[in-house]
Symmetry: C2
């Protein structure tokens, strides 16, 4: 991978001979190649040998933040970490007192992760700054690149720790959370170099922000299915999560005739199909049963208990709530028809978070200007943007990922799609800066 | 519990004063109380503190065999163990060279077992001999009571070890089986006092046997549902056992729209319902999915793999085979409709074993003579009778059990039902002996 831009991104650049002036397209392609190489570099920074696992506030996370900080500094940014451990690189505006455009995502990962979920958004943000720095350009707003501390929630079981602190919505009680080794979150933050006693100081003022943009792999197959490199997120879907426990009567598989059975698994299986059918019939709805268990769990014993997880999402809350209500009623009927009980435990219900319409429209224009059809689609997964959207105007740009695979080592993006993303972000920034692009 | 019959069953009897002559009914009720008390005694002989687990060829099994042997000797029987460890008590015929009527079941148990599955059949057989001995009666055939070694198969994973040796159908290769502690079956038999090198000598000649009768708890709810104490087994059902593995595509529960999913669990769930529907629509068929698993098994991940067990039974083989064929075709269609693969692994297919029609008719008459409706029903569970039926005429008498529960400490039978069973077996023996009962 060669980088032909400026010294500001020379960290990986081999010494090269002076080059002729580059076109914007050539610069973007070089930046995309740099982003890909940097994702590889970060992908090798792991807690575990042979696979990528990078939990928040670990030594691996320290190395990742330090590596990105070095790239940020090389790009001419002022770099700091806030008291929650979120890494922030600041590229100054053309004049003092200007608001800040925030670009970012996260550097922590799930267990046995891919290398793009999170880092791609941070590094495309950094590339956008490098594209400005390349030509010494300053905008009427500062550009800040954020790598939020702990988006995935793998270590302490709670997501968005960094973005909650950034937006002043961090519940202090969370500092008492403990990881599986018994380490308190407060102690982990302190050991990382943060300051748990001063988390409040991490909170920014919304009036100082212009907007937030998060670039992220789609984590789904819709862009690939339509042969599109980029998508504009309409909203981050709301989600209902529940555990359904069906209680029937265990019995001998050979000796209890069908008409005398109270088979808990049959009721659960029918509910799996009801969820599938309902989601298929409701545009935009997804419903998933990812976990199932039958007890006692022997091949020759009728299940007396069956438990399933349920995950229902939609970008419009009323559609999701109506679907959950119908699902619950039909699951109850499936249970009752078999003399089986149903205990429905709702674990979580989060509202949908719409992205800012103006920012979305500008993103769609920027994508179209690159020659691509701008598809709007909801994000079924949660992101830091869901927290930021309650604080400032927020938008998300999705990048096609191979096979829709994420949270897996097979996660993959094309360098050409990354170039398209960098170009679109560049145009979108131009647009915000009031500098029309062709 | 008092026993008022003869010295032959005086093991538990407290010293009592001389009694007036008893009616048959009174004797039967005393014998039933004795059987109940003996089931309690055996139920306390366990490998584990606080629950009943009695695997074959263990010290607990040794104590159980020795206890029953003592009762057999007290009943005037010649007692021995064959080379496979099956306990045999012989009550001689009125004349030498007569054939032998075999009554029996087993004394080994499942883990955390009830106290009646197995012992009840041995002890009702013993009670039948005691009923003869009470009055010094000899029949034109010998009566032998068998406690077959290892019917449940808990220790070595193979059932019917004792009855296979008894019928000369024991595969010698099984001697190399090892229990979870690595003990070879051959060594376990030898340590128990058997003779693994002479298992062939355990084999009886079919021409020496008159018939085999096994009394057993129903292990199902049909007799209780009809308020009947006893049932005649029509056949031991044939069974097909299979593992079905559905292979789809894992994906993010929030980001993959329904129309792009290949959800392995949805295909599996539909198959669970197909099995239920097919069994409900086919008289006498039972179909059970007792085990189910979805991988990767997270609430927010679409299952890429789902596995289910399948257990299909019917007393008529063609009905079972046709049902399995239809189920397989419909499961394949459920998978294909979702772009999911199905791998069907048949683990076992055993034919139904009909009980001898003549013996069944005599059992039905004997039950009716006791004032009860003789219900014929298949046995969905396997029994030593399935092995014996390939060797001699065999029959089974089912005794109502509470709630249809078996293989569980809550296993329960009523003493009145045990009395009805003893009376029915007594009449059935009279019938075989050519001595009509009223």
């Amino acid at each position: 991978m060669a980088t032909r831009c400026l010294a500001t991104i020379a960290v990986e650049a081999k010494p090269v001979e002076p080059l002729p002036p580059m076109t914007t397209t050539a610069i973007v392609h070089d930046l995309a190649a740099t982003v890909m190489a940097r994702c590889d570099t970060l992908g090798a920074i792991s807690e575990e040998e042979g696979r990528l696992t990078r939990r928040s506030y670990t030594q691996a996370m320290r190395r990742a933040n330090d590596q990105v900080a070095a790239w940020m500094r090389a790009a001419g940014m002022d770099v700091r970490e806030d008291p929650a451990g979120t890494l922030l690189g600041h590229y100054a505006a053309s004049k003092p007192g200007a608001p800040t455009l925030l670009l970012g995502s996260h550097l922590d990962s799930v267990r046995d992760a891919g290398r793009y979920d999170g880092p791609l958004g941070v590094l495309v943000g950094l590339a956008a700054v490098e594209q400005l720095g390349c030509v010494g350009r300053r905008l009427p707003f500062a550009v800040e690149v954020a790598a939020f501390a702990d988006e995935e929630g793998l270590r302490f079981g709670r997501s968005y720790l960094g973005s909650m602190a950034f937006t002043g919505s961090f519940p202090p009680a969370l500092l008492e959370l403990r990881d599986p080794d018994g380490v308190r979150l407060a102690d982990a933050i302190a050991a990382f170099g943060g300051d748990p006693a001063r988390l409040g100081a991490a909170a920014r003022r919304p009036e100082d922000l212009l907007a937030y943009l998060e670039v992220h792999i789609e984590q789904g197959p819709q862009l690939e299915a339509r042969n599109l490199p980029l998508g504009v997120v309409s909203a981050i879907a709301g989600a209902t999560r529940a555990t359904l426990r069906f209680g029937g009567t265990a019995g001998h598989a050979g000796t209890v005739p069908m008409e005398l059975r109270h088979d808990a698994l049959c009721a659960a299986a029918q509910t799996v199909l009801i969820a599938e059918e309902l989601a298929r019939a409701t545009p935009g709805l997804v419903a998933t049963v990812g976990q199932i268990a039958a007890l006692p769990g022997a091949g020759n014993v009728i299940p007396g208990v069956a438990t399933i997880s349920l995950d229902v999402r939609h970008q419009h809350d009323p559609a999701r709530i109506a679907a959950v209500d119908e699902l619950r009623a039909r699951a109850q009927a499936a249970a009752s028809a078999r003399g089986v009980t149903l205990a429905w435990e709702e674990l979580q219900s989060t509202s949908a978070v719409p992205m800012a319409p103006g920012l979305r429209a500008r993103l769609a224009r920027a994508i179209a200007a690159g020659g691509h059809t701008p598809l709007e689609l909801p994000s079924g997964a949660g992101h830091d943007a869901a927290v930021l959207a309650r604080f400032t105007d927020a938008a998300m740009l999705f990048v096609r990922c191979r096979g829709g695979i994420s949270h897996h080592p097979a996660e993959a993006v094309d360098v050409a799609d990354v170039a398209a993303a960098i170009a679109a972000v560049g145009r979108w920034i131009d647009d915000l800066a009031g500098e029309p692009y062709p």
